[in-house]
């Protein structure tokens, strides 16, 4: 915690559809209560360039699919006390991981996505960071403290987990999570 | 003699006649022609002996016999000359003339060809293998002259079925198939079941890689198995039996087929056995390459012609087995003990072994060891005695590292546990099992992680796929091992291995799944440093791992 006395929270968007962030925002009026207790120090919905030091809680949406994301994830892990996988892509790989069952090389995956399946202007991408062999859930690369599954997870569930953590309790997912 | 319908008193006469017949020979040359010695040319050696005794004109005083395994499989072909039990090793057809000339004609054993390691036999106690290597398994008369079928005769003539069960119970004999359930108790359960017909299944589906005790027994002394089954049938009231044998054992199958035919011809199988109102039929059933079929309930499915998938117990086969009828399932090694117990009494048997674990156990001794082979030792003998005194220790001046007891689902035990007495309970306590008696010795060039991975792979291949832990769980464990041995292991892997191992052990349906994690759990327990070395330093001291296994 910082001098403001608020819990420093970050959110990260890796390979996902941003639906989990939408769900986060769907907490609606409860966000106002949350804002009393937390300070958003990094997020795709805030214009902050660098992932800061000393973060209390980081929520990460999306699967781990390329090397840039892996570096980001490692930074986040090193600088956060609590790391939370937010949503199915982060928890299972989900849609992003569909390519895993295809068992092809990263180049073939890119060609399929940018050339074969492209309706307009097929072109070979040159700015995509190098893909990992498999798209993975986050906990296969770093230690993850809590999981909020769902595609997307409900706003209620996100709120429940955050509220419990802010109160210093361990969330109990039994009967609450909605896998998939 | 074949074709003669034996009566009770005839047995004695056959035995005496056969003994007289054999006494006419001064020497008996036993050539081991079991699966272990044949590939080394045992059949040619047998032929050479037959020719040589004729050549030297001693064929009237020498009986050349084709026998089963003597146990020294690493130095085959082995030849045992009686009297005096002179054991020749690595005999070649070229050396046969020398042996016959010196030993038989001149009476001077050829010293430098004799098997040297006397300790190999001194610490053994051969009950089950009493006749192995000494009788011709293809002649029922040989077995009868060695006292065979007299226990059956004793049962039929003088004992009630309850009396037989009493002796077996008194003997404290426990199932030699691995689990170690009390044999007498099991017989009592089947005998009590009031549902007919009843069946007996003799388990010769020795699927444990590295184990060949049952095969050896069947090749060397098939009638001991048949007699044991007959006595069991008499005791529990069964009239039909099956011997379920691996199809990978062609010689054992042949030997048993012949033995069954002989027993039938002499009215030792079929209706009115020994002219008594006792009836028992015996058939062979062939396995087809499924380790799990050795499991008690899976073997039943297999005998019935189904996929060998185990089912939960209860109901136990003693009440609901083959075609839902009471069925006694017994390992052949257990059965081979029975004639001795009946003959000598249950109390006699308790004097061998330890108080809780009576009798002996056959072990197949293999791996990095000087004297691999088949041994039979009293229960309670220490691992050290087996590995070093009998086995002669590790060859080529290397260091002993671990011993694997109990087959692919056994445990890897380190040198600190070498003083452990071999019995069911002591082994279970340290995470190993008796299993079907496989002992594999590993030297310091073995990697324990690689070893655990090898056994896990075996169990993954052999899992029947019915229950989740064994099917899905073992496959995950195998993947974790792939990671660790290819350099992508994580520290979390150790906890995951441990957690899933314990779960698979506790939650699996049958013995295969319940014991499959043993190699993983014991290597984690005794050789954790090697896991850490693989995960943290990405190093394998033994040089087995981190090779690019998955090329292309």
């Amino acid at each position: 915690m910082t001098t403001t006395g608020k819990v420093r929270v970050a959110t990260i968007w890796l390979s996902g559809c941003s639906g989990c962030h939408m769900s986060f925002l769907d907490q609606d009026e409860r966000l106002i209560d949350l804002a009393q207790k937390i300070q958003l120090v990094y997020s795709p919905i805030a214009d902050i360039k660098q992932f800061p030091e000393n973060v209390d809680v980081t929520l990460i949406e999306g699967a781990l699919a390329n090397e840039e994301q892996l570096a980001m994830l490692k930074t986040a892990r090193a600088r956060s006390k609590i790391l939370i996988s937010l949503g199915d892509c982060a928890v299972t790989g989900n849609v992003t991981a569909l390519r895993n069952a295809w068992h092809r090389s990263d180049q073939e995956v890119l060609e399929r996505a940018y050339l074969d399946k492209s309706d307009l202007n097929p072109q070979r991408p040159d700015q995509v960071p190098k893909l990992l062999v498999k798209a993975r859930p986050l906990h296969e690369a770093v230690k993850v403290d809590f999981f909020i599954p769902g595609c997307p997870p409900s706003a209620d569930l996100i709120n429940y987990v955050l509220t419990e953590l802010l109160a210093g309790r361990t969330p109990n997912m039994e009967g609450r999570s909605k896998y998939g | 003699m074949e074709g003669l319908k034996l009566k009770l008193d005839d047995l004695q006469r056959v035995a005496e006649h056969e003994v007289d017949f054999q006494r006419a020979y001064k020497y008996r040359i036993n050539v081991c022609c079991s699966s272990g010695c044949v590939p080394f040319g045992a059949l040619k050696v047998l032929k050479a002996f037959e020719d040589a005794v004729k050549e030297f004109g001693v064929d009237k005083e020498c009986k050349v016999a084709r026998t089963g395994c003597i146990g020294t499989c690493s130095v085959g072909p082995a030849v045992l000359i009686e009297p005096g039990d002179y054991l020749y090793q690595s005999v070649t057809p070229e050396k046969v003339r020398e042996i016959v000339r010196d030993h038989i004609v001149l009476g001077l054993p050829v010293k430098d060809m004799l098997y040297k390691n006397q300790a190999y036999f001194q610490k053994q106690h051969r009950l089950v293998l009493r006749n192995a290597g000494k009788i011709d398994p293809s002649r029922i008369e040989d077995y009868i002259s060695a006292g065979g079928y007299s226990a059956l005769a004793k049962c039929l003539a003088t004992m009630t079925s309850q009396g037989v069960i009493y002796e077996v119970r008194t003997s404290g004999l426990r199932g030699r198939g691995g689990a170690g359930f009390s044999t007498g108790q099991k017989w009592g359960l089947v005998a009590r079941a009031q549902n007919f017909p009843k069946y007996i299944v003799a388990n010769l589906d020795e699927g444990d890689p590295g184990v060949f005790a049952n095969r050896t027994l069947a090749e060397a002394d098939p009638h001991a198995i048949i007699e044991g089954m007959l006595i069991a049938a008499y005791a529990v009231g069964a009239q039909k039996g099956y011997i379920y044998i691996r199809s990978e054992y062609p010689l054992a199958i042949q030997t048993l087929q012949k033995a069954i035919a002989q027993a039938k011809a002499m009215s030792l199988l079929g209706d009115n056995i020994l002219e008594m109102s006792f009836k028992f039929d015996l058939e062979l059933r062939f396995g087809a390459g499924a380790f799990v079929a050795g499991e008690e309930t899976a073997i039943l499915a297999s005998v019935e012609g189904q996929r060998a998938m185990p089912r939960p117990r209860p109901p136990y086969p003693a009440n609901s087995g083959l075609w839902k009828k009471p069925t006694l399932i017994q390992n052949v090694e257990t059965l081979a003990n029975i004639p001795l117990i009946v003959q000598n009494g249950g109390l006699w048997f308790t004097k061998i072994g330890t108080s809780k674990c009576t009798g002996t156990k056959c072990f197949s001794l293999t791996g990095q060891i000087n004297n691999p082979g088949l041994i039979e030792v009293p229960m309670g003998i220490s691992l050290r005695e087996v590995v070093f005194d009998i086995g002669g220790g590790v060859p080529d001046g290397r260091k002993f590292k671990a011993v694997l007891v109990g087959g692919p689902s056994g445990g890897c035990l380190p040198d600190t546990l070498l003083e452990l007495p071999i019995d069911y309970d002591s082994l279970t306590k340290v995470g190993a099992i008796m299993g079907s008696g496989g002992i594999v010795v590993l030297d310091d060039q073995s990697c324990m992680v690689d070893t655990a991975k090898f056994f896990t792979e075996f169990c993954v291949d052999e899992s029947c796929g019915k229950c989740t832990p064994c099917r899905a769980g073992l496959a995950r464990i195998k993947e974790i091992f792939d990671g660790i041995t290819q350099g992508t292991g994580k520290m979390d892997d150790i906890a995951t291995l441990e957690k899933s191992g314990v779960f698979i052990r506790d939650a699996s349906l049958c013995g295969l799944g319940q014991t499959a994690p043993n190699p993983v759990l014991t290597t984690l327990r005794y050789f954790k440093d090697e896991y850490l070395e693989h995960i943290v330093e990405k190093k394998c001291k033994a040089g087995k791992c981190f090779k690019n296994e998955k090329e292309a």
């Binding site: - | 272990g36 444990d208 087809a288 390459g289 499924a290 293999t366 990095q368 056994f455």
Partner: protein, 162 residues
């Protein structure tokens, strides 16, 4: 009478010996494989019909046990024993050498159908590990050189001395 008819007659004899009993399915599959060399789908359908067992059940049993071959095997068969004792004694290296020498993978055959390489979990010849079986002949304490020479001689149709 053609060869195929003969084989069918033999199979029929086996079926009758076992009285068309469902419980003899394994024995019948064993014998059918001996007669035909392997179990193709027509054969399995035939057995299924003869014993009145559902085809899926027959197929399930035939594929459960690794001893049954559903594909035509090579003319010559080499089987490596991957039992514990053989593994500890280095059978893996011999297998890799065979794969490299004859350009085939375990479980498969050479394109000309001359040679199949199979694996088994223990043939019980552990004391003379490592063991390789070349056309029903067990080679104990095998080495790369001996095994490869043996296979070559078998393929060349020369009766090799052991």
């Amino acid at each position: 009478m053609s060869e195929i008819d003969n084989r069918r007659l033999l199979l029929e004899k086996v079926l009758k010996e076992h009285n068309f009993q469902e419980s003899a399915l394994l024995e019948i599959l064993h014998r059918a494989q001996e007669i035909y060399g392997y179990l193709d789908k027509d054969l399995l359908m035939d057995i299924s019909g003869s014993l009145n067992i559902p085809p899926s059940h027959v197929y399930g049993v035939a594929t459960f046990y690794s001893y049954f071959k559903l594909k035509k095997p090579g003319e010559h068969i080499v089987t490596g024993c991957l039992g514990t004792a053989c593994y500890v004694k280095g059978v893996e290296q011999i297998m890799q050498a065979i794969e490299a020498e004859f350009d085939l993978k375990r479980g498969g055959s050479t394109p000309d159908g001359k040679l199949s390489l199979l694996v088994t979990r223990c043939i019980g010849a552990c004391a003379m590990a490592p063991s390789i079986v070349v056309d029903d002949e067990v080679i104990g304490k095998a080495t790369k050189g001996v095994v490869i020479a043996k296979i070559k001689s078998v393929l060349g149709g020369v009766k090799a001395e052991t």
